[in-house]
Symmetry: D3
Amino acid sequence: MTDPTPAAPWPQPLDTSVTPRFAGLPTFMRLPVMDPADVDVALIGVPFDGGVTNRAGTRHGPRELRNQSSLVRRHHHVTGRSPYDLVRVADCGDCPTHPLDLMESLRLIEAHYAGVAKTGAIPITGGGDHLVTLPILRGLSKGAAVGLIQFDAHSDTYDSFFGQKYNHGTPFRRAIEEGLVDPRRMVQIGLRGSVADPASFDFARAAGVRMIFIEEFVARGVDDVMDEARAILGDGPTYVSFDIDAIDPSQAPGTGTPEIGGLSTREAQALVRRLAGLDVVGADLVEVAPPFDPSGLTAMTGATVMFELLCVVADSLAARGG
Amino acid sequence: MTDPTPAAPWPQPLDTSVTPRFAGLPTFMRLPVMDPADVDVALIGVPFDGGVTNRAGTRHGPRELRNQSSLVRRHHHVTGRSPYDLVRVADCGDCPTHPLDLMESLRLIEAHYAGVAKTGAIPITGGGDHLVTLPILRGLSKGAAVGLIQFDAHSDTYDSFFGQKYNHGTPFRRAIEEGLVDPRRMVQIGLRGSVADPASFDFARAAGVRMIFIEEFVARGVDDVMDEARAILGDGPTYVSFDIDAIDPSQAPGTGTPEIGGLSTREAQALVRRLAGLDVVGADLVEVAPPFDPSGLTAMTGATVMFELLCVVADSLAARGG
Amino acid sequence: MTDPTPAAPWPQPLDTSVTPRFAGLPTFMRLPVMDPADVDVALIGVPFDGGVTNRAGTRHGPRELRNQSSLVRRHHHVTGRSPYDLVRVADCGDCPTHPLDLMESLRLIEAHYAGVAKTGAIPITGGGDHLVTLPILRGLSKGAAVGLIQFDAHSDTYDSFFGQKYNHGTPFRRAIEEGLVDPRRMVQIGLRGSVADPASFDFARAAGVRMIFIEEFVARGVDDVMDEARAILGDGPTYVSFDIDAIDPSQAPGTGTPEIGGLSTREAQALVRRLAGLDVVGADLVEVAPPFDPSGLTAMTGATVMFELLCVVADSLAARGG
Amino acid sequence: MTDPTPAAPWPQPLDTSVTPRFAGLPTFMRLPVMDPADVDVALIGVPFDGGVTNRAGTRHGPRELRNQSSLVRRHHHVTGRSPYDLVRVADCGDCPTHPLDLMESLRLIEAHYAGVAKTGAIPITGGGDHLVTLPILRGLSKGAAVGLIQFDAHSDTYDSFFGQKYNHGTPFRRAIEEGLVDPRRMVQIGLRGSVADPASFDFARAAGVRMIFIEEFVARGVDDVMDEARAILGDGPTYVSFDIDAIDPSQAPGTGTPEIGGLSTREAQALVRRLAGLDVVGADLVEVAPPFDPSGLTAMTGATVMFELLCVVADSLAARGG
Amino acid sequence: MTDPTPAAPWPQPLDTSVTPRFAGLPTFMRLPVMDPADVDVALIGVPFDGGVTNRAGTRHGPRELRNQSSLVRRHHHVTGRSPYDLVRVADCGDCPTHPLDLMESLRLIEAHYAGVAKTGAIPITGGGDHLVTLPILRGLSKGAAVGLIQFDAHSDTYDSFFGQKYNHGTPFRRAIEEGLVDPRRMVQIGLRGSVADPASFDFARAAGVRMIFIEEFVARGVDDVMDEARAILGDGPTYVSFDIDAIDPSQAPGTGTPEIGGLSTREAQALVRRLAGLDVVGADLVEVAPPFDPSGLTAMTGATVMFELLCVVADSLAARGG
Amino acid sequence: MTDPTPAAPWPQPLDTSVTPRFAGLPTFMRLPVMDPADVDVALIGVPFDGGVTNRAGTRHGPRELRNQSSLVRRHHHVTGRSPYDLVRVADCGDCPTHPLDLMESLRLIEAHYAGVAKTGAIPITGGGDHLVTLPILRGLSKGAAVGLIQFDAHSDTYDSFFGQKYNHGTPFRRAIEEGLVDPRRMVQIGLRGSVADPASFDFARAAGVRMIFIEEFVARGVDDVMDEARAILGDGPTYVSFDIDAIDPSQAPGTGTPEIGGLSTREAQALVRRLAGLDVVGADLVEVAPPFDPSGLTAMTGATVMFELLCVVADSLAARGG
């Protein structure tokens, strides 16, 4: 959709029938490393787990997502299309973070994504714990609140933990309070698991967030739920946040707060595909924690979900700007 | 429902937003350790695998169930209720067992549960291989046979293995023979897997046990099956026995005799929730074998099922005695 | 169905209530090792991964399939029948392969299966990567093309990789080209996953292969899909090829090219059972890669699928020749 | 040495020939949980990894150290003595920490150890990353600088990382600057591994710290090195800090910054035993990171080193105060 | 040394340059399965862990020892000799055991080895927990007490555990009491680890057993220690018992009661080689517990030690009977 | 030593106190990716296991060596020097290989290294199985035979396996036959392990190769052995080949043909350091097989040995050309 200049060639993944998948540096999707200014969609890592209250490890997430993305090929098997034929996509490297200072990390991430936003590239992020979504939204913000669809086992709308307002249980409360997200254009799918406080959902409900617990999802099915979700999200700019713990721990064990009874990967893929055509301004796949993922299955699942997100974004961009 | 005395305060799990989940001793659900006499529901470990005929390891089950139960919080996300607000629940420690003498272990377990029964506390047990259910039923027995609902891949109604009457393939045959369980008030759900002898189910069938194989379960669904099960169980005292191998090995690999094609955790949770209102006199979660569970997923699944069982029991107690 | 002679006794698995499952050499299904000439169904290992383009390891597949098959007992729980009561089945050892020379391995495998074919025994193979199906079909060929039903995430009908015509992405294209398989009597179920080239399916489609992607399978269900498949396969001789990656990586992680969103083991078992009555001339279970299967779950799943295949074949043989 | 009162009985580990080692809650050494005020030696956990700059996970250290300490019995096999016969030892629980706020954690730890110091109990700590030694020293401080012997692959005397003064690479620089440790009575043994900056050792050298690299240790042997170390430490109050990464990663893989070529456990045990008779005012065993220790070997090694430290302290207390 | 008859051909391992090591059934050393009556040295498995008081799993030991022995080739690299050229060696299968009845297992093992003894074959056993040595000694006994050299972290001369006289901590006390072993011709090497009772060594010491703790071994070295051991053992019939936990847990993690600071494999090999020329009447390698050995390193170490033992026995037999 | 031009800046690893080690693409030593023409020392991956006769997996070696090399910092702790201050070093990417065609891979590797040789850069390779050394030597060859020092458990001077002349057991025989290596300037250290054929060493011995088995090494020690080795190697051009299986499997389990009783990492480091000053024309670290290295310890050990090799080469280059 954008006309590539000689200085910024149209990027393509390494050809798996020329360069074996086990060879070469593990970039996202085996793409070249490029500057966001030269692409339409920027794949970015945010190695960070400073917001984790129990099992850390998502700081290693981006590297393993890249590693496992070597297994993903170019064309989507349902659409037959390759996102790399539609738009320019590249690995735009890791966002700076601070391993010891949570608040400084929030500043670094916000600044980095503000820079990305200036280029016009749409970022798809591989996290990182879920707190990273907050500074990403800040960085991408153009003033008006965006819509948001969240796949997650947890609502992440707590007020604080341990007296601390910024952690991976609070990003969406902060985002709503800061006017970054419009709660009436916000949907959460896959919620489940015991909770510390039954009132923890009150804020989100009162704000107008549509919370769809796993039981409701199972009863209604993908299409019915997504029909409603799309009606809520409407045509406005929308951010997509996919917490890998939305998926069942048998298919995504490597995460900090697993909850049994989750989405199957089949359902997750079907859900993401139903985002087609939305005005997606950014997306993330977060909470992959490699130290708890010895088989690599979680990172492989995460990388495949990132590819599904990429296909949705590329199709959408091509349809609009094409 | 019971009036706590100053000497026995109303127990609560550690607050996860004050004491991190990775801190402290791993008791069941992060509860205090208390005497059964001071609680309404007693969480008890039975570290035992003397009845195992192939892969041992359930002797380590209680410790890992406790460890993974650190991930479980206080309130059930569907009901919004906390069992700890309704009844007094505590970790009542491990039942004595003998690591070398099967028959002595049966005696020790029976005696321990007889002691618990005297206090009036309802025991929810974390096993241990499935043979432990037999001495538990003996210890809890008040003379009359109870009803029993069993979630399991195996019927466990063999007569003997290796010429031995007491092992984890025989407890329910013994329990019926001894008049501990009324076979006409007994239901088994999730049966599957190749069998050594096609006649192995004859005893149970002849005795009147309702055996629901996985194929029938899949065809009918949770609600239809549980409607029938509840009709069979009726209003009388009922024991609930949940063998973790009822669940598919992708979600519960750490067990001695896994069988593919099992219950999903979603189905397992839905099944347990449909026990609401029954007169549950005891429950167990057995056959978690940590040496075959390096990721901890099996113990996490087991701990969550224990929480679901606890919620059912607490709700029921509150409704009756409240 | 065949009258056993004194020199070749009717083989039975070791009795699990006499010899513990952890004891003894791990043959397939704990059967004796016998010559194909003395059995009706020959269980054969093909330790080979010379056709793998990314993650190797299926050379170790047969040994681990045997190891985990210790968990499988004699009688199918749905039919109540034991295949060992119907026909003579044994472990017929490993087919010779060459660890360094792909083309020599193809010759060795073809020659070995030609020898098996002469005995009249029906081979059920534990692989090995999927390329082994090609020389097996060559060895079994009696001139006329056979029908083929393939459970797989991948079509394996590429023309070549890395300029090489023989690898685990090409066996079925070669088999069609060589007239070993009739593409109009060929069905593929479970296809999914990103592809290097959207035209990669064109050959198969043009040849008349019926390709059923996972999305179609999910929408229609086991029975509808298998009704169509059986209509396509008809009454003629049919080969069954089951790639373990047809099954979801949560239930079969140990394979070279896993793709999320696959068949559940429940579905896989139901699919295989619907093969009952077909004229099966051979079957295989391939792509189990033990180095990527630390828990053994993949090999256990594979061994159980082999048992399901065996039950279908034995029932069919008994019905025909009995 | 202290006269136990009826209210605080003389604590003993559970008898391993009565209660199996797999049974019961995993306290340190299977000891009762008691208040520091009632013991002579307090085993304390500090679940913390807020100071880690690369691979986190030591927040889970105390729980796994306790778990593996179930394998440790009562009597030292060389001395034949049991520390529990000489002094009162108990598990005094976990020190409070803050999972999100590094500086608050430093305050919490300091305050907790100041409380312990008031009781007169000598603390032996299971960490936690190495930064915890700093607030422990602050809490224990009685004004005068103490001597310190450190077993470690790293000097941990950097000035800062990422512009941050408090992390697990800086505690001993801070301790020297704050006058908590007398650098002329400080010895480091086992140093090795590539370094970011060759000047990183200058501060310590200039301050008078005796740094013994692994090469010197290998050349001289345990006795010669410890003769020198004891001469440096003298008779004054001394703190012992044992970083598990002093030990070779083959024997202690589960740590954040492993360096090959380390101490063997045999050497580590011999080194610790040579501390006998010193005036030890506190000790710690830090940097066990369970997410990187799937086999549990690191925690088992750590628990055994804690036992060796305990025996030294108990013998010493008994000799002085007895 | 024995003249093979046509009915019992001289057995040789599969040729690793013809049949790949990953192919074929995993017999001990890839040898044929034969009857003890047809060999000079019988490799036998004893799948048993009924005597274990903490972590079970040695019931799976023989199978994994066979599996890993695929890595061992024919010729010893120091002597250049192949034991298979000197004597007839075969895999003689597994000894029957009872998975539920300890005392019945002792009877089964004794009877099996009595049968082996009648054939004149020298058994080298792959265990199994250490209790198996007792019934092996009973079965092999010809009336007179034999000498015994034991490599072990533990003396295994306790009187009882949990009030039970037969478990893996007591075999050598029973063997001495029963007159099977002459304690004045008995040596133990590698003892270490904390002990429940300092008096636990008194029985052995009083009986005249020479106990060499790891500290003494380290101080003196292999040759000095073995000179003494050989002097004690003399020329009489001698049994060799090698507990894999003699070796350091970094090299043999998969065992029930690991103790840090153990023998290196180098030392273990050197020790076993110094047995050359003794009149070895039997040997065993015990306590390999595969569920705690995910990498297979322990079984590989055990299989290599079995090969070293085999070379000693074969050389000795050849020298005497040749 | 070489004057960097503006177009090719002097490369430095990422600063670990600015960019955390868990961030960014895992290049060798966190160096930039550059062309060999612009560096003095080229770190190159050869992802290949086509020469493996048993357990494959070294095709994944380069990626994991890069991953674990994130743990290595800039300065050697003994010399205090950074190789990056002395010479220009970079990650020069992966050499092309063919995953299905062994002979084509040999051609590709030879051609690639011939290209490197033309630039004058000294290659340090991360393999790959040991067969890769042959085409590397071919590519680097300037006509005259070079000296060679090999650290290895195996001599790799077999004539053939399975009738195949090119595999990972034969490279050094081929190299001698082809005149690439001068056998009288060739030393092998660390040899051990059972062998298929005692005559397998005859070729090497007859050719004049100095073979130092582990037993001789242990008896003599690092310095004595290296004095002899250096005398043999002399001042001429020398290639260094380090097979990770030279190191004990407890410290390097992830390799295809482990042999117990190997070099410790301490010894390995001391051996490599004694290469200082030799005229090293190339070096490799081979046989790291990640599928058998779940903990990453083998790759970490391998990456550290690569760093030690790099320091030797850099010091030597600086001393000569500086």
